[in-house]
Symmetry: C2
Subunit: 360 residues, 2 copies
Amino acid sequence: MKKRARSTSRTASKRLDIRTVAQAAGVSVATVSRVINKVPSVDPGLAKKVWEAIQKLGYVPNTQARALVSGHSKLLGVIISDITNPFFPELIQGFEDKAVEVGYETLIGSTNYDLQRMELCVQRMLERKVEGVAVMTFGIEEPLLERLSSQGIPMVFIDLAPKKKDISTIRVDYQKGIREAVQHLAVLGHRRIAFIAGPQRLHSAVTRLEAFRAATREIGLKIPAGSIFHGDHTAEGGERGVAHLLALKERPTAIMCSNDMTAIGAMHALAHAGLSIPRDISLIGFDDIRITEYMLPPLTTVRMSGGDIAASAVAALLDPSAPPKEVETRLIVRQSTSVPAGTLSDLHADASRKRLSRKS
Amino acid sequence: MKKRARSTSRTASKRLDIRTVAQAAGVSVATVSRVINKVPSVDPGLAKKVWEAIQKLGYVPNTQARALVSGHSKLLGVIISDITNPFFPELIQGFEDKAVEVGYETLIGSTNYDLQRMELCVQRMLERKVEGVAVMTFGIEEPLLERLSSQGIPMVFIDLAPKKKDISTIRVDYQKGIREAVQHLAVLGHRRIAFIAGPQRLHSAVTRLEAFRAATREIGLKIPAGSIFHGDHTAEGGERGVAHLLALKERPTAIMCSNDMTAIGAMHALAHAGLSIPRDISLIGFDDIRITEYMLPPLTTVRMSGGDIAASAVAALLDPSAPPKEVETRLIVRQSTSVPAGTLSDLHADASRKRLSRKS
DNA sequence: GTGAAAGCGCTAACAT
DNA sequence: ATGTTAGCGCTTTCAC
């Protein structure tokens, strides 16, 4: 016997839905719905009564029901590869802040670089009827991507742009920050600059490397093949990169890294090799994650704001036709860079740096 | 004109719902539903046909509709204070992994220590009809808490246990790890051990401080009032703590911190003061967030597994009656601790430590 | 074992 | 401006 005594409304008590409110306020459910959705045509007096009833009863509208009938889930998905990479939390926070601001909820899926988990993620997003997905990871496998795009769900990627409709791309101007970094090193006197890159399958990593190549070429610096090491955007990769670079006949005097985690691994390896930063070797990271400020020495790095990217992503998802804003990057100079060892001005520079850092 | 020509099913094409599948498989919607939900009583032959139809059409069940009728949203909420504290991502990842494993989705709300945002969080969770909320932040204001608990939504807290039904608590055995840390320092010869605590309103911070007091008392160590500094679980707090402690007449030879971010701030401040860790002063953190391993020197810390906590939280939410498992903590010795400066064995220990770290 | 049909709580025509 | 009512896509009795 399912038929609840909806008509015999005298016994109303247990369920707290829009009807209960309507009854308490002495109006119809339609009016309550209008009040909740702030439809302007409702009489202010009635609206007030409705709000009071809502307040008194502690009524909360059921999102599931609203979504079902309206067709809007008010849900946005983000797919990332590895939440423990400190760049992602900052991105997620930005995304979530922005999403909440425009009345959306965020569904997070982390793939952990696992294809099967990615598949599960896509399935979950589909089932929840997300209204858009930000793919902040490399290599979403085409067939999966297809599933989303065939439903006409807007998507946004970083850098990489599978050219389909409903798919937009957030362009990041890597060139600017990386150019600043290279020129910063060049001005200090560095000529042998190495680069520890990210995974080659990751588009954004490839682009960073290209930006580095372009920036060095621009100022006439030759980068021998051995000076480019392919890491994987983890600290371990940075350690391996340093091991490789230190074994070179011509050791670099400065190392740039494709992301901060790599640079942190590199710092670690350099310290273990008995090398001091920046006296013996200069180091620059990329991302400007929070922690870099607290490394010893504080890391000079290229800032790419996770918040900016997130805001662009949300905007792109909500209005896929709008031209996406380009995200800027810029150099943040801290204390992991200085003149190369053996430079004339070395003694002086080093001494003044020390004075500086002992201050505070 | 809303009335879609559902009866004139010849024109079926656009909408892809359970009816489409039923029709394609030549069964009723009820059967499709049963197949999807793996009700055992369905004929295997029919089930196969249904799965094929699902596959062929690319059908994805609508979670909203299922939730609406079944009353189960399959949604779990987590409320945290600050996602940029590296401890939380690890916790969230654990939570999410566990939740997905049991077929749930995770809704994340970060309050950023802001009451208004907390309010919004609670409202969102209520609207989405979450089936449980893990509150991983201090001081959820009572009235808000009330809103959740009055709906009979299970909640789980860390440490702090507002004694109500439907509310469970994850007990963390802070004592064990902190005791190990204190004894580790004592064995090395430290007698003046300071503590940089967390915010006093945060129950877990208070408990950590108490554990420290108990552990020192146990071995007969007197901790003067000035040796306890109240920070705020941020790096900035750690810096302030060090500034305070270094100004003491009797400087501590070792500092323990209420969390790793505090310890990282402390390292920073100590370096700026020209003090070397662990030669001049030993340092111990708490949490064992990923990055500690890569600090210079790698930080000795007390591990509290975010994954364990998350798993316990999910379990507690799904079965609030089950007795929650206690989460263990334990000391991870790295290289930020050694004998106090001036100790007889100092020279030797220091030298051997250096040899060690130059290895690799 | 399978199908028919009644709603889950809400929004949006449509009618008034 | 407000009320009436038909579904949104699904699960779940109930009858067969």
